[in-house]
C-alpha cells in the first residue's frame, strides 16, 4: 500500500475526493496503526479549531433591515412584470407608441404588398422600406440607451442616475417593442441583442435613490466585462452607418 499522506487524511476525514479503494485502505490502516490514528486525531484537533470559533451572527434586526433595503429593489420589477402588462397603453411612453405605430405601418406595407401584388420589385421595395424604418428607430433607441449607460457608469454620485431612472423605464418599454418588431421582421439577431439589453435597463430603472456605490460598481463591472457599450455602438453603426 502507498504511504498515507496528510492530504489524504484530510480527504478521508471529509469522505470526499478519494476513490472507494483508497478510502478502504486508509480505514484499514487506521484500524491497524496507532501512529496513523494519532496523526488523524491531530487533524481532527486542527479542524476543531474552526468549529470552536463563535458562529458569525448578524444583529437582531438583520432580517428587517435587509428587507427594508431589498424591497424597493424588487418591488418595481414585480410591478412592471405583473401588475402592468407591457402593452398597457397607460404605461408605454407616447414616443414608443409613435415608433411602434410607424413600425407596424411599415411592416404592414410590406405584408400588404406581399399578399396583394404580383410585382416582386414592389414587394422587395416594401420590405426594404419596413426594414429601414425599423433600423432607424432602433438606431435612435440604441443611441439613447448608450447615453444612459454612459451617464450611469461615469457618475460618482446618485443624482445623475436618479435623473435617468425615468428614461430607463421608458426605454424598457421601447426596447420590448423594438425587439418584438425585429422578431416579426425576421431579424432574430437584433431581437436577441435587444432582449440582452433589458436586464441592464431594468437595473438602471430600479437603482435606489441615491444610488449606492455598490450598485454603480456592479453595473460598471458588468458593462466592462460584457463590453456592452462597444456592442451597442457596433449594432448602432450597423443600423445607421451615416450617424457614426
Amino acid at each position: 500500500m502507498a504511504p498515507i499522506r496528510d492530504d489524504e487524511l484530510i480527504l478521508h476525514h471529509y469522505r470526499d475526493g478519494l476513490d472507494g479503494e483508497r478510502l478502504a485502505e486508509i480505514d484499514a490502516a487506521l484500524a491497524a496503526s496507532a501512529e496513523l490514528r494519532a496523526r488523524r486525531d491531530a487533524l481532527v484537533e486542527v479542524l476543531a479549531l474552526a468549529d470552536d470559533m463563535p458562529e458569525p451572527a448578524p444583529s437582531a434586526d438583520f432580517e428587517r433591515r435587509l428587507w427594508q433595503q431589498l424591497e424597493p429593489r424588487i418591488a418595481p420589477k414585480r410591478k412592471r412584470d405583473r401588475a402592468r402588462a407591457w402593452w398597457s397603453f397607460d404605461f408605454v411612453p407616447r414616443a414608443a407608441w409613435v415608433g411602434a405605430f410607424a413600425l407596424v405601418l411599415a411592416l404592414g406595407i410590406g405584408f400588404f404588398a406581399g399578399r396583394h401584388s404580383v410585382d416582386e420589385t414592389q414587394q422587395a421595395n416594401a420590405d426594404a422600406l419596413a426594414s429601414r424604418v425599423l433600423d432607424a428607430y432602433v438606431a435612435e433607441h440604441l443611441r439613447a440607451t448608450e447615453g444612459l449607460i454612459l451617464t450611469a457608469v461615469n457618475s460618482d454620485a446618485g443624482e445623475p442616475i436618479a435623473g435617468n431612472r425615468e428614461l430607463a423605464s421608458s426605454l424598457i418599454d421601447s426596447n420590448r417593442l423594438y425587439a418584438l418588431a425585429a422578431r416579426r421582421a425576421g431579424n432574430a439577431r437584433l431581437a436577441d441583442f435587444l432582449r440582452q439589453l433589458e436586464p441592464v435597463l431594468l437595473e438602471l430603472a430600479n437603482q435606489p435613490v441615491p444610488s449606492n456605490v455598490q450598485s454603480t460598481e456592479g453595473l460598471r463591472d458588468y458593462v466592462r466585462k460584457t463590453d456592452l457599450l462597444f456592442q451597442v455602438r457596433a449594432v448602432e453603426s450597423k443600423l445607421d452607418p451615416r450617424r457614426t
Partner: protein, 188 residues
C-alpha cells in the same frame, strides 16, 4: 426543501413579494454566517447577503430544483461574498502562497503534542490565533475550506462554484488546513 418552501419559491417566481420575504427570513441568517466566514467582515457580509438575495430574486426563473433551494442560494451567496472581497481588495490577504511550514506532512508534529490543562486555560489565546490564521488564508482558500468544512459541500460542487478544477480545489483546502494548524504552533 419543505413543501411550504417549495410553494414560496413558486409564488416568488410569479412575483409574489410576500413569498419572497418568507424565503429571505428563512435563509438570511445562514447566508450571513456563510458570507461572514468568507469575508471576515460584518458590513461586507451584510452587503453580500443583500446582493445574493437580489440576484436570486432576479434569477428565480433559472432555479430548476436540481439542487435544493438552500444550496442554490448559498452558491449565489459565495459568489456575492467573493465579489465583495474583490471590491474591497484591501481586505484580501497578500499571503496567498503556501504556509511557512509547507512540508507535505505536518500532522505527525501535532500528534506528539498532547493537549494539557494549560492549553484549555488558553482557549481565548487559541481563538485569537485561529482568527489570525483564518485571516491569513487567501479568499479562495478560505472559501473552499468554509464550503467543505462548514457547509459540507462536495469538492465537485465547490470546484464548480469557484471555477477551479478539482485538484486546485483540493490544494486550496490543504493549504487552508495547514494555515489553520499554525494557530496551535506557539502552544507547543
Amino acid at each position: 426543501m419543505t413543501e411550504a418552501e417549495e410553494r414560496w419559491v413558486e409564488r416568488a417566481r410569479q412575483g409574489d413579494q410576500l413569498a419572497f420575504r418568507r424565503l429571505v427570513e428563512a435563509h438570511a441568517r445562514a447566508l450571513y454566517t456563510l458570507c461572514a466566514r468568507i469575508t471576515r467582515d460584518s458590513a461586507m457580509a451584510e452587503d453580500a447577503v443583500q446582493e445574493a438575495l437580489f440576484n436570486a430574486y432576479r434569477h428565480l426563473a433559472e432555479f430548476d430544483g436540481r439542487a435544493s433551494f438552500k444550496t442554490w442560494l448559498h452558491r449565489i451567496a459565495v459568489n456575492a461574498a467573493l465579489e465583495q472581497l474583490r471590491r474591497n481588495s484591501r481586505h484580501q490577504t497578500a499571503d496567498t502562497g503556501a504556509d511557512s511550514d509547507d512540508s507535505e506532512d505536518f500532522l505527525a508534529q501535532r500528534a506528539d503534542d498532547t493537549p494539557g490543562p494549560d492549553r484549555h486555560a488558553r482557549g481565548e489565546e487559541i481563538r485569537r490565533r485561529t482568527e489570525e490564521q483564518l485571516s491569513r488564508m487567501s479568499a479562495l482558500e478560505r472559501t473552499a475550506f468554509v464550503m467543505r468544512h462548514h457547509e459540507g459541500q462536495s469538492l465537485e460542487d465547490i470546484s464548480a462554484v469557484l471555477s477551479l478544477n478539482t485538484n486546485a480545489c483540493k490544494q486550496a483546502i490543504f493549504r487552508a488546513v495547514r494555515k489553520l494548524r499554525g494557530a496551535l504552533e506557539p502552544l507547543r
